[in-house]
């Protein structure tokens, strides 16, 4: 995690930016991240190289897989892009979102396309399941304007962008998977990705801009963080249970790491920006009611009630319909 110290501006609202990550095979994790806060803008981004369709190994890249190279090079590309974006005096608003996405898209496509060219092309292997240097991406770009936080969620694939407030966890992004699947059904159906970043360039970066004035936590996460719980509410509960036990922001981070590690079967990366709470005690206290409610309404009933029914009740907050 990189964080530039600066006074005023976005920093006046920012409490913390942190990253939690782990890999299944040491030094071969196919996730990567980029998290940074400048004076005016911040970004929390995660990238999950797709090992199933990018399993070709490249000798010139220390025999790493295309998936590994894609996520790591995408993170580096976004870092370079963000530096230029901050230096360029850009604005973040509904009017500029499309241009920002187009610029990001071209940067990622150029980088991966160039790597493909210099690494000997696409190789002999073909088929609809094969992609050259494939990775998911979830990035949240945010800024402070007129005492409001403006956040632009940009994504491709099934890495997710969330906002966590005392009202609950809301998934802002929509997974690029087959129609008809939602966050609960996809835990078991394991649907195919219909869109992801890759060297071919024919991918789409989805985007959504939201603004808010209250405190919040912006979260980008790869599927290793949330995809191994039996329901989406357990992911939120893990975050809040960890917070209730933590004595500091660093403690929260460590407990999140332990909470994910206990369940996951994949590399995992979660990048978060905590905004507007001021101090840890206030932050922790703000979520006590939500944690209790979540436990009472959902978690305590998981073994006895129908998961689909619980999900139906929960999804209004989860998909932002109740906000």
């Amino acid at each position: 995690m990189k964080k530039k110290e600066s006074a005023g501006g976005l920093r006046s609202k920012l409490d913390e930016v942190f990253v939690v990550s782990g890999e299944m095979i040491k030094d071969n994790g196919e996730d990567d991240h980029y998290a940074y806060v400048d004076q005016k803008f911040g970004i929390v981004g995660v990238f999950d190289g797709c090992g199933g369709i990018g399993s070709r190994k490249y000798e010139m890249y220390e025999n790493k897989t295309g998936a590994y190279i894609a996520s790591h090079m995408s993170a580096e590309t976004v870092e370079a892009w963000f530096d230029k974006f901050c230096e360029g005096g850009a604005e973040l608003s509904g009017n500029t979102a499309a241009d920002i996405c187009a610029d990001l898209h071209d940067s990622l496509a150029d980088t991966l396309g160039e790597i493909e060219k210099t690494s000997g092309g696409r190789g002999a292997i073909k088929g609809s399941l094969v992609r050259s240097f494939p990775t998911t991406a979830s990035m949240i770009l945010f800024t402070l304007k007129d005492k409001k936080v403006y956040s632009l969620y940009v994504w491709a694939g099934d890495s997710r962008g969330y906002i966590l407030t005392p009202d609950g966890l809301t998934q802002i992004t929509r997974d690029d998977i087959d129609a008809g699947e939602d966050a609960l059904s996809n835990l078991s159906s394991d649907s195919r990705l219909t869109n992801l970043v890759h060297a071919g360039g024919d991918f789409k970066l989805n985007s959504k801009i939201i603004s808010f004035s209250g405190p919040a936590v912006l979260i980008s996460a790869t599927d290793g963080c949330f995809g191994y719980f039996s329901t989406p509410m357990e992911f939120e509960y893990m975050l809040l249970e960890a917070l209730s036990k933590a004595k500091s922001m660093d403690g929260w981070k460590k407990l999140i790491d332990g909470g994910i590690r206990e369940y996951t079967g994949d590399d995992y990366t979660l990048a978060a920006a905590v905004l507007g709470y001021g101090d840890f005690r206030t932050f922790k206290r703000s979520f006590a009611r939500r944690r209790a409610e979540l436990y009472e309404k959902y978690i305590s009933r998981l073994d006895s009630a129908d998961k689909e029914e619980l999900w139906e009740e929960y999804r209004a907050v989860y998909y932002g319909e109740a906000r």
């Binding site: 292997i125 609809s128 394991d190």
Partner: protein, 228 residues
């Protein structure tokens, strides 16, 4: 959290093996790959802390209905591994390369049998994987339908076989999310059409007489294990 929660992985694989005369040079390598696949995929998954809860393998040996009569298509039920490992090994090791007649073989009929397998519908996460090993292009579906042992109920043409595989709009006889097709086959009719138009396909174009290199085999293992 929910107690006793654990994601289960159920994997079905169907190996379609071309056992015509032209495969003589590579049939032993194909058989070894088929026999090692279970162990290699399991090991690759274990490295990621995943365990296959239930794995079944089925074998379809194909040749040419017109040239090979009763030896044209040999189809087994699923073997549950590791319980039926010995039976599975005996079956694979008994495959001999002979016959075939002309160059194209009846690989599409083999694929038809494979797609219509009695797939496992249990388990939280499922994979239904078909692997085809051949050094030949294929006849059109129904090329050998005048032969007495040609199967009744086979897809009548390539379009129907495509529908059996299914797509995002119309599901076929195999789970849309779970299905994977790995082709080790020449870049010629109809394999190239399948590679270009069917979803969830990985095609390793082969050249007659040349084996499947170590590098590509490792990639096949990674492709399977990483998508489970």
């Amino acid at each position: 959290m929910a107690s006793n929660y654990k994601i289960t992985y159920n994997v079905d694989m169907v190996f379609c093996i071309d056992a015509t005369g032209s495969m003589t040079g590579v049939i032993d390598m194909v058989k070894e790959n088929a026999l090692n696949l279970y162990t290699d995929v399991s090991n690759a998954m274990a490295k990621k802390n995943k365990t296959i809860d239930k794995l079944r393998v089925r074998v379809v040996v194909f040749r040419d209905y017109v040239a090979d009569g009763d030896d044209a298509m040999l189809v087994t039920d699923f073997f549950s591994l590791p319980e039926q490992t010995e039976d599975f090994e005996r079956c694979v090791r008994s495959v001999q390369a002979f016959g075939g007649g002309d160059d194209p073989e009846d690989g599409l009929e083999a694929l038809g049998y494979a797609i219509k397998s009695k797939w496992d519908t249990e388990g939280m996460k499922k994979r239904q994987v078909i692997v085809v090993w051949t050094d030949a292009t294929t006849h059109e579906l129904g090329f050998g339908k005048s032969m007495p042992n040609y199967p009744k109920g086979m897809a009548k043409d390539f379009n129907e076989l495509t529908a059996w595989w299914g797509d995002r709009q119309n599901s076929g006889f195999i789970n849309q999310n779970a299905k994977r097709l790995l082709l080790f086959a020449p870049d010629g009719p109809y394999w190239n059409t399948i590679s270009d138009t069917w979803d969830n396909v990985i095609h390793f174009p082969s050249i007659a007489g040349e084996g499947l290199g170590e590098f590509d085999y490792a990639q096949i293992i990674d492709s399977i294990s990483n998508t489970i």
